[in-house]
């Protein structure tokens, strides 16, 4: 095939696409109208197929020709009312038109398409003649038999398709129809001396579009000529002149109106879309551009007096004059406009710097803005281009699932940027499918619910502010928030206590969480392994926002807000080292600044990831410098210098500070610490997930013009484009998703970890804040003690300490308090110097009051305690906790008092081990106390089970033998009061010894506890007493069961 043939073939392909673009909606309209479908509609479909058939024959595209021929046959019978319009026939035609489109799109391989089945279906549809159709046909005259005096309107309906197809290409010439008889033909030959046939004669002044019989068969001098020849003739001559030329009566020449809107004005977008998808050899892409000024219409058809009001375009296509413009040209225009905006910005900046203000510049600036807006409009396309595929989808799907569904589309004409139109199709399809599959109920169910059997889906587009909203609404069963709640809890997406406080709307929006899908079973319609989270992500990728509203039983509305264009986007400019980057603001959730001092608290390391604990959630962190492999730097907060950052990771401070370092190094490190680095973290969202991107500096927000990446850089996933900054330099635009991928950030992974972590932390009591006393006994070390274990703090003068033998005492409030110096019992250093005043910490517990001497009380602060028992196993310590970025040993008062007062140990020993193999269930939400209680119960020889709340306790009780329960009162989910009521309710447990162990020391609580059924009510802290009581209760139980 040479280049010229190829060109013609391409022409054929693009034309056929235009012809076929509307066929689907026309077929559906036919189906809806049934046998009332107007002839024009049927003809339109017929003509489209006919044109394709004709041209395909020319190229020897046999399969296309064969299929279109069969379709044509069926359509002909339908047009002639020999066959009625049934759903089956429309099915057959739709199916065939799909295949036809496929073949056109891949014209080179069209011969390898399988069409036999489609043809068989068509032929089956052809053969089934219904009697009703026959009857009808008899009742009315076939339209082709209309009389000569038919109005031009009727005329047009009978136009042979070839006429219209050919005439519509004829530009400003008008089309006439006339009948020439023998005398007229003779006159014509007389007036025009040249040419041997009538064809030649008529061709001098115009073009014969169609004739019957062929005019070339009518030769000069072979009179008598044919009795009457019907001619469709295209000419620029006015009818009167034409009449004169041909010797006809002017009245016999009928102007013919070509149905302009259907044949001449193809729908705009589909041609482009498919063209791009199938990438024909030539690069040229064309888009039909609307001429906004409709007042400029100089179309010849407007002059036609006969144009009847009935022929006004059929709603969906407006009569607008359009021209074809190369997409590349539009893109270039768009670029230029963008550059103009940049240039203007730079100019404004420059003049502002010089304090000059020129009024003319403001006018210019205004014009530039307008220009840019208008150029942008040239790229706008109606959403109808996407919407028009949905009637078919809804029709096919609803058949499949046996539902009756009506789709109402509004706002087809609303326009969006080409680039957006191209990407919204898939997620919208998903939403529509969802409505059909999950939204609308089966007819029976609808009737039962008092609704019409037929469900309705509305698909609307409308502009609001600078955005376009697309709504998908259905009147189906809506979303049941309770189901969502249950499902979300079941899937572990939210915690039950979280779910409790959520509004219905919040619950509904949970369906956007990754891993959520409400379909009970995966159907092949909407359950394609992608959930609503993907839909949301797809829209969000280009700045769309998705919202869902649903009322149970009434229906669901999903609203998608889309930006008008992607060419200019607001973004935030950041800097890493010398590099500037733009981050699209749609991806940005917030900017968090973490001061170096706080790093320890908020930035942690989980399974090798650096994470930021932000308002109780873990946010995985990525250093942009690392991802881009550029040297890490940080900006000195005072000097603003950019300095290299040598730390291996954010948490580096302690980890890379081995004790072996010499003092000089230590000091050097310390110096740096005195100028803590401020970390700038951009919290970026990515569908349902988020991550933090660490950058050196956050500069300005700027409206940037997006320019595509060159092919050399497309493989770098971190960037989505380039832009030119106000200072004229190029900057890269970051691809939020790509960075996550390059950083190997498995967001789902992190989320899982995060969830596990949070649960874990909840268990550890991280979430529960406690007051902690920090104090020191020497110049070097600090210790921590929960305030709940401290009765009071006293300040004393050192000289008031009395010494009796080895022991020290102080007189406080009239009694003598024995004092403990920690350094005597624990391996810590004594203070290096004498202090004039000391502090005495009086613990809450212990039979005999004692005071611990501290040289300094550092602080009492509210914090969460994460006790690390591994790091410090020395006797007298529970382990270490990290408070305000420092690791501190936590004192174990029980052990300490045993060390100080061996007598106490004896008491404990006396009650331990006597009742062997007893299982005790501790119900306690604070891990710290859980650990504490567990440790002394275990050391006393008991087996211990744990439950974090009343509900968990009950389930353990029902599954395992338990001899005694020790329960806290204040707990989440089910508190101690509720627990004891539940325990006592059960016949099985009514005699089970249950002890309350709580910090609620008031009489009222105590009375309430005992009244509700606790056997004993003890205050936390006093180990010896608790052990004694446990012993008592167990012994009592044993006796009771023995008796």
């Amino acid at each position: 095939m040479d280049a010229q043939d190829r060109e013609i073939l391409n022409e054929f392909v693009s034309e056929s696409r235009e012809h076929l673009a509307d066929i689907e909606s026309d077929l559906l309209a036919m189906e809806e109208a049934g046998d009332d479908a107007d002839d024009e509609l049927i003809n339109r479909v017929f003509r489209a197929i006919h044109t394709v058939k004709g041209a395909s024959g020319f190229f020897g595209l046999q399969k296309i020709a064969k299929l279109s021929h069969t379709m044509e046959n069926l359509l002909m019978k339908i047009r002639d009312r020999e066959l009625s319009i049934t759903s089956e026939r429309i099915d057959a035609l739709l199916n065939a038109s799909d295949i036809l489109k496929g073949m056109i799109d891949d014209v080179d391989n069209s011969e390898s398409f399988e069409i036999d089945e489609a043809i068989a279906v068509l032929e089956a549809a052809l053969s089934g003649k219904e009697p009703s159709a026959e009857a009808k046909k008899e009742g009315q005259a076939p339209p082709s038999e209309s009389t000569e005096s038919a109005s031009s309107q009727e005329m047009e309906e009978q136009l042979p398709p070839e006429v219209i197809a050919a005439a519509s290409k004829k530009g400003p010439a008008s089309l006439y129809r006339f009948i020439m008889d023998d005398s007229a033909i003779t006159t014509a030959f007389e007036k025009e001396k040249e040419g041997d046939t009538l064809m030649d004669v008529l061709s001098q002044t115009g073009e014969v579009i169609f004739s019957n019989p062929e005019l070339s068969t009518i030769k000069r001098g072979e009179s008598p000529y044919s009795p009457s020849v019907e001619v469709f003739y295209s000419t620029i001559l006015e009818p009167d002149v034409l009449a004169l030329t041909l010797g006809l009566d002017e009245k016999a020449i009928q102007p013919v109106i070509i149905p302009k809107q259907e044949t001449k004005e193809p729908k705009k977008e589909p041609a482009i879309e498919t063209k791009e998808a199938s990438s024909p050899p030539e690069e040229e892409k064309e888009v039909e551009k609307k001429e906004t000024d409709s007042g400029q219409k100089a179309a010849p058809e407007e002059k036609k007096p006969l144009s009847s009001p009935k022929k006004k375009p059929k709603t969906q296509t407006q009569q607008q004059e359009t021209i074809r413009v190369n997409v590349r040209l539009l893109t270039r225009l768009m670029d230029l406009a963008g550059e103009l905006v940049l240039g203007r910005n730079q100019l404004m900046q420059a003049l502002k710097d010089r304090d000059r203000d020129l009024p003319i510049l403001h006018t210019l600036s205004q014009r530039v803005t307008e220009l840019q807006e208008h150029v942008m409009q040239t790229r706008m396309q109606p959403v109808g281009n996407v919407f028009n595929k949905f009637p078919r989808i809804v029709r096919d799907m609803s058949k499949k699932v046996n539902k009756k569904i009506k789709l109402i589309i509004e706002g087809n004409e609303v326009e969006l940027d080409r680039s957006i139109i191209e990407v919204i199709s898939d997620p919208l399809t998903h939403l529509i499918r969802n409505s059909v599959d999950h939204g609308i109920e089966p007819p029976e169910e609808r009737i039962r619910a008092g609704k019409e059997a037929e469900g309705t889906i509305w698909l609307r587009a409308y502009q609001e502010g600078g955005q376009v909203n697309i709504e998908i609404q259905d009147d189906g069963k809506g979303i049941d928030p309770e189901k969502i709640r249950a499902k979300a809890i079941e899937k572990g997406l939210i915690k039950p206590e979280e779910a409790e406080n959520m509004s219905n709307k919040e619950l509904t929006n949970l369906i956007f969480l990754p891993g959520f899908s409400t379909a009970e079973k995966i159907s092949d319609i909407s359950g394609r392994g992608v959930g609503m989270d993907v839909v949301k992500t797809n829209f969000e990728k280009f700045g769309g926002v998705v919202e869902i509203n649903s009322e149970k039983g009434k229906g669901t509305t999903v609203t998608v807000r889309l930006p008008l264009t992607l060419a200019i986007i607001p973004s935030i400019i950041t800097k890493v080292g010398d590099h500037r980057f733009a981050v699209p603001q749609v991806n940005l959730e917030e900017i968090v600044r973490v001061k170096g001092e706080n790093e320890k608290i908020r930035i942690e390391r989980v399974k090798g990831y650096e994470v930021l604990r932000l308002r109780g959630h873990l946010l995985s962190l990525v250093r942009l410098a690392d991802v881009l492999k550029i040297p890490r730097t940080f900006v000195h907060p005072e000097t603003k210098e950019v300095l290299p950052d040598r730390r291996v990771n954010i948490l580096d401070r302690r980890d890379s500070d081995p004790p072996s370092r010499n003092n000089k190094e230590r000091r050097a490190l310390k110096d740096r610490r005195t100028h803590p680095q401020i970390l700038n973290i951009l919290v970026l969202k990515l569908g349902g997930s988020r991550y933090g991107l660490i950058v050196d500096q956050v500069l300005d927000t700027e409206e940037i013009v997006v320019k595509p990446l060159s092919n050399y850089l497309k493989s770098i996933a971190c960037f989505s484009g380039t832009t030119i900054m106000g200072d004229g330099k190029v900057a890269m635009i970051l691809d939020v998703q790509g960075i996550a991928r390059i950083a190997n950030l498995k967001l789902a992974d992190i989320e899982e970890i995060s969830k596990a972590e949070e649960e874990n932390l909840a268990r550890k009591g991280m979430m529960e804040k406690q007051y902690v006393l920090l104090f020191s006994v020497n110049e070097h070390e600090a210790f921590a003690l929960p305030m709940s274990m401290v009765a009071r703090l006293e300040k004393i003068e050192t000289i008031k300490i009395e010494t009796v033998g080895e022991r020290e005492f102080v007189q406080l409030r009239g009694s003598s308090l024995p004092l403990i110096r920690l350094e005597k019992y624990l391996s810590i250093k004594p203070p290096e110097k004498e202090h004039e005043t000391l502090f005495v910490i009086v613990p809450r517990m212990s039979r005999h009051p004692m005071g611990i001497i501290a040289t300094k009380v550092i602080d009492v602060l509210e914090t969460s305690i994460e006790l690390d028992t591994e790091s410090m196993t020395d006797r007298g310590f529970l382990g270490t906790v990290i408070i305000a970025g420092r690791t501190m040993p936590m004192l174990d008062l029980f052990t300490l008092f045993e060390m100080v007062d061996p007598e106490q140990k004896e008491i404990i020993d006396s009650v331990s081990g006597e009742v062997h193999n007893a299982r005790i269930l501790i119900v306690e939400d604070t891990p710290f106390f859980m650990k504490l209680t567990r440790s002394y119960l275990e050391s006393a020889g008991y087996e211990v089970l744990e439950a974090m709340d009343g509900v968990k306790a009950l389930s353990i009780l029902h599954s395992e033998p338990v001899d005694l329960v020790i329960s806290d009162i204040e707990m989440p989910v089910m508190d101690g009061y509720e627990l004891i009521q539940n325990i006592r309710k059960s016949e099985k447990f009514k005699d089970l010894p249950v002890m309350a162990l709580t910090a609620l020391s008031d009489e009222k609580s105590r009375a309430k506890g005992l009244r509700l059924g606790f056997d004993d009510y003890e205050i936390k802290i006093d180990k010896a007493r608790v052990l004694t009581k446990v012993h008592e209760l167990l012994t009592r139980k044993q006796r009771a069961s023995a008796a």
Binding site: R328, D335, L336, G338, E339, L342, G343, H579, R580, L628, K629, I630, K707, S710, N711, Y712, L713, K714, S715, I716, A717, C718, F719, T722, I724, G728, K729, V730, A731, M732, G738
Partner: protein, 163 residues
């Protein structure tokens, strides 16, 4: 007869068809692109168009040189801008606007097709596919480059799949 724009990379004289040259530009500040292949030196803004600057020296194995007083950017017409004459001659460049970082600009040299000889096998060049041939000038041996090969995006498709 074909005309070639010539330039030096490390004292070696190279030539490309003059029909591919859009303009010669003094060195301006480039925006380096992290993670980009090493022969990409950065991006510049030329009247609103983002131009990728390529260091042919690195591709050809001449090595990276520091920019000097005479360093220039030779801006190449992308395929879409090539004249019909260039297309007739089968000249192809790149789909993107690119600039070549060159050490020094040389004269315009004319050569007949007959004067162009295949590259000698011992040529000190990374890959002979980059070389169209050599031609003798009055004083020098001129290495004519195959721009289409040199500017091609290697493994482009493969990488695109990753995106």
């Amino acid at each position: 007869m074909e005309q070639f724009a010539t330039f030096y990379l490390n004292d070696t004289l190279f030539g490309i068809p003059i029909l591919t040259i859009r303009e010669i530009h003094p060195l301006i500040e480039m925006t380096p692109v992290p993670l980009a292949p090493d022969f990409i030196r950065g991006l510049v803004n030329l009247r609103g168009q983002v131009v990728t600057i390529i260091d042919l020296g690195i591709k050809l194995g001449v090595g990276r040189r520091d920019s000097q007083e005479r360093t220039r950017l030779m801006i190449i017409k992308p395929n879409a801008e090539l004249s019909d004459l260039a297309l007739e001659k089968g000249i192809k460049t790149s789909d993107d606007p690119v600039g070549l970082l060159i050490d020094e600009i040389g004269d315009v040299v004319s050569a007949e097709e007959n004067d162009i000889e295949p590259p000698p096998a011992n040529m000190d060049i990374n890959d002979l596919k980059y070389v169209r041939g050599v031609a003798k000038t009055r004083s020098d041996l001129l290495t004519l480059l195959n721009l289409n090969q040199l500017l091609g995006v290697e493994g482009g498709n493969e990488n695109q799949n990753q995106i």
